[in-house]
Amino acid sequence: MTAQTPARPPLVAALYAFLVALVVTGGAVLWAVLAGPAALRTWLAWGCGTVAVVLSVLLAVTVYAVRTSARHRARIADMETAADRLADETLPAVVARLRDGASVDTALGHTLMPADEAHRRIVETLATEVGRGERMRAAAMSACASAAGRVQALATSMLADLREMEHRHGEEVLGDLLKLDHTTAQAGRLADSIAVLTGARSGRRWNKPIAMESILRGAMGRISAYRRVRLHSSSTSAVAGHAAEGVMHALAEIMDNATSFSPPTSPVHVYVEEAQAGIVVSVEDSGLVMTETALRSAEAAVSAKTLDLMSLSGTRLGLAVVGCLAGKHGLTVSFRPSARGGTSVVVLIPQQLVTQAPPKPAGRPTEPDLPVAGLRAAHDAQAREVHERDAHDAGARERHSHRSDVHETGVHDRPAARAARPASGAGAARETTDHRPTVPDRDTGAARDGGASRGPDDPHGRSAPQDRGAPDVPAPRGAAPAPATEYGPSGLPKRRRGQTLAGAPIPQAPQATGRTRGRSHEESAARLRSFRRAVQGEAPPARPTTPENAPKDDPR
C-alpha cells in the first residue's frame, strides 16, 4: 500500500516499508514473546525476531522492486510517446518544411524540438541530410530545366531556319531539309518532355488558336514513325493558343507510344470527334492488347496528380509527360482495348480549350490581291531560279547580297504595286477584255494617288525583275496582260533602274503601225486620251505646273 504513492523514490519507499514492517512485526513478536511460556521466551524472541526481520527485509525488497518497475514502466511509456511524436509529428513536419524549400535552420526553428537529447540529434541529422538531398534535387531539376529550355530554344530557331530554307531552296535539297526538320522536331519534343518533367514551361506559346488539323499534324510531326499515322479528322475546331503546345505534345507522346508498341508496318489511326464535353481524339493502334493491369497502371501514370520522379523508368518518359500535361491543361486520358485489336487511347480536350478555327492566316487572299501575290511569288521564284543558276560558281557572300537585294526590291515593290494595282493590273485586264472606251475615274484616281504621286518611281519599282535580267513572267491568268514586267525580251527599250520614264531612250521614229491586233488605232488613242483625262481630272493640267505641286522626283 505504501507503493501507491508514486512520488516517493523506490529506495525511500522501501525503507519506509521496511520500518513499518519492522514496527508491525516487532509488535507481533513482542506480543508473542510476552504471551509465550517463560522458558521458551529467549528462543521465541530470537526466532520470531529473525523471522520478523526477514519478513521486513523481504517486504522492503518487494516494495523496492515494485516501485522500480513501475517507475521504469512509466518511463518507457513516456519514451514511447516521445518516440511516437518524433516519428509522427516532428519528423514529418521538418521534412515537409524542407520539401517546401525552407532551409535546414528555418525548418528546425519552426518545429517543436523533442526534449530528448538523442531525439534532438536524430531530428537534426535527418534535417541536414534531407535538406541536402532537397537542394541537390532542386539543383539537378533546375539544371535540367534550363538545359531543356535552351535545347528548346535552339530547336525552335532551327525549325524556323529550316522552314525558311525549305522555302528558299529548290526541290533538290528539300528532301534533306525535311529530314533535318523531322529530326530537329523530335529533338525538340524530347527537350519539351524534359522541360515538362522538370516543371519548366513547355515549349513555345501560340498566340492564336491552332486548328485541329494543325494540332494533329504538329503532334505527328514530332514522332519518328509519322508516316504510319493516319488522320481522320473533319473537325473545324481549334485549340486555344495557350494550351495548343501542351495538347500537341501530349498527343505526340501518345502517338509515339502507339507507333512504338505496334508492328512497324501497321498504321495508327487517329480519329477526332466533337462531343459535348469537348473534342475527343482517339489514337488506335493494332499492336499488343494491354492487359487489364497494364491499362490500369497506364491510367494511373497519366492521372497522377503530382509527378513522382520514381515512376520514371529509363527512357520511357511518355506517360509521365502525358500525365503532367493532362494535369496542367485538364485533359482526360483513358486507355481501353481497341476494336482493331490493339490499344486505344482516348484524349478528351475540354470545352474551355476549344474555340473555332480562325480563318487561315495565310489569308484567303481577297480576289484583287491574288495577281499581286502571284506576281510577287513569281518574281521571287524567278529571281531565285536565276540566282540559283548563277550561284553555282558564285560564293556564299555573293549569294547573300543577292538575296538581300531581292528582298529589298520586294519590299520596295510593295506599296507601289499595291497602290497601282487596280489601274494597271485589274483595271487594265478588265479594260482589255471589255473594250470599254473609258477608264473609270476611281481606278485612275487610285493610280494617280498611288502611282502618279510617286511619279516616275512607280514604274521603277514594277520593272525591277527586268533589271535582274530575269526571264519574263507570263501573266498568271492567261487573259490579263501583266503590268510592266511583260516588256522584257521584245526588243522594246528597257528602262534602267532609277531612270525616269521621261529619261528613257526615246525610240527614233514613233512609227504608227496599223498592226494592232483586235483593236483599231483610234480605239487605242481614245483609251490613252481617256486615261490622260482621268489623270488630269483631279489635278490641274500638267502644263502650268509650279515647282511646288510638281512631283518631288520629277526631273522636269
Binding site: A160, R163, E164, E166, H167, E171, L174, G175, L178, D181, H182, A185, E213, S214, R217, G218, M220, G221, Y226, R227, S234, E245, M248, K360, P361, A362, G363, R364, L370, A373, G374, A377, A378, A381, Q382, G410, V473, P474, A475, P476, R477, G478, E486, Y487, S490, G491, L492, L501, A504, I506, P507, P510, T513, R515, T516, R517, S524, A525, L528, R532
Partner: protein, 117 residues
C-alpha cells in the same frame, strides 16, 4: 519574302506532304494553270481544300504557292495528289499566254504616247 513569323503554323512541311519531298514526275512548272474539277470534300487535307477553292478559276502554281505560303515544290506534291485523283486538271499556259500578250508594236505605241504626255 519571309511570310514566316513567330506565329507560324505548327505543322511541318513533311507532315503536309506525308514525308515526300519530290513529286513523282514533274508535271507542273511555275506557271502551269491549275483548274479545280470538283468541290472540296469534307475530311480532305486543308491544303487540298484550299487549292480546290483557289483553283475554281484557273490559277498558276506560283499563285497557289503564294496563297498557301508553301514552297513551290511542296505545292507540286500536293497538286500531284490532286491530279492523280482527278480533282484538278493542269494546262501549260505558255503558248496561250504568249498569244494573248500585246504586240510589241502596241507597247511601243503606248510608250511613245506616254512619253508625249
Amino acid at each position: 519574302m519571309s511570310p514566316l513569323g513567330p506565329d507560324d503554323d505548327p505543322d511541318r512541311l513533311y507532315t503536309v506532304t506525308g514525308g515526300r519531298s519530290r513529286a513523282a514526275g514533274s508535271r507542273f512548272d511555275l506557271v502551269t494553270l491549275i483548274v479545280a474539277e470538283c468541290e472540296p470534300a469534307p475530311g480532305m487535307q486543308s491544303e487540298h481544300v484550299r487549292i480546290l477553292e483557289l483553283a475554281r478559276r484557273p490559277t498558276a502554281v506560283v499563285e497557289l504557292s503564294a496563297a498557301l505560303r508553301l514552297p513551290v515544290s511542296v505545292v507540286r506534291i500536293l497538286l500531284t495528289d490532286l491530279l492523280d485523283t482527278g480533282r484538278i486538271t493542269a494546262r501549260h499556259p505558255r503558248t496561250a499566254a504568249r498569244a494573248e500578250l500585246p504586240e510589241p508594236d502596241l507597247l511601243k505605241e503606248v510608250l511613245d504616247a506616254l512619253q508625249r504626255l
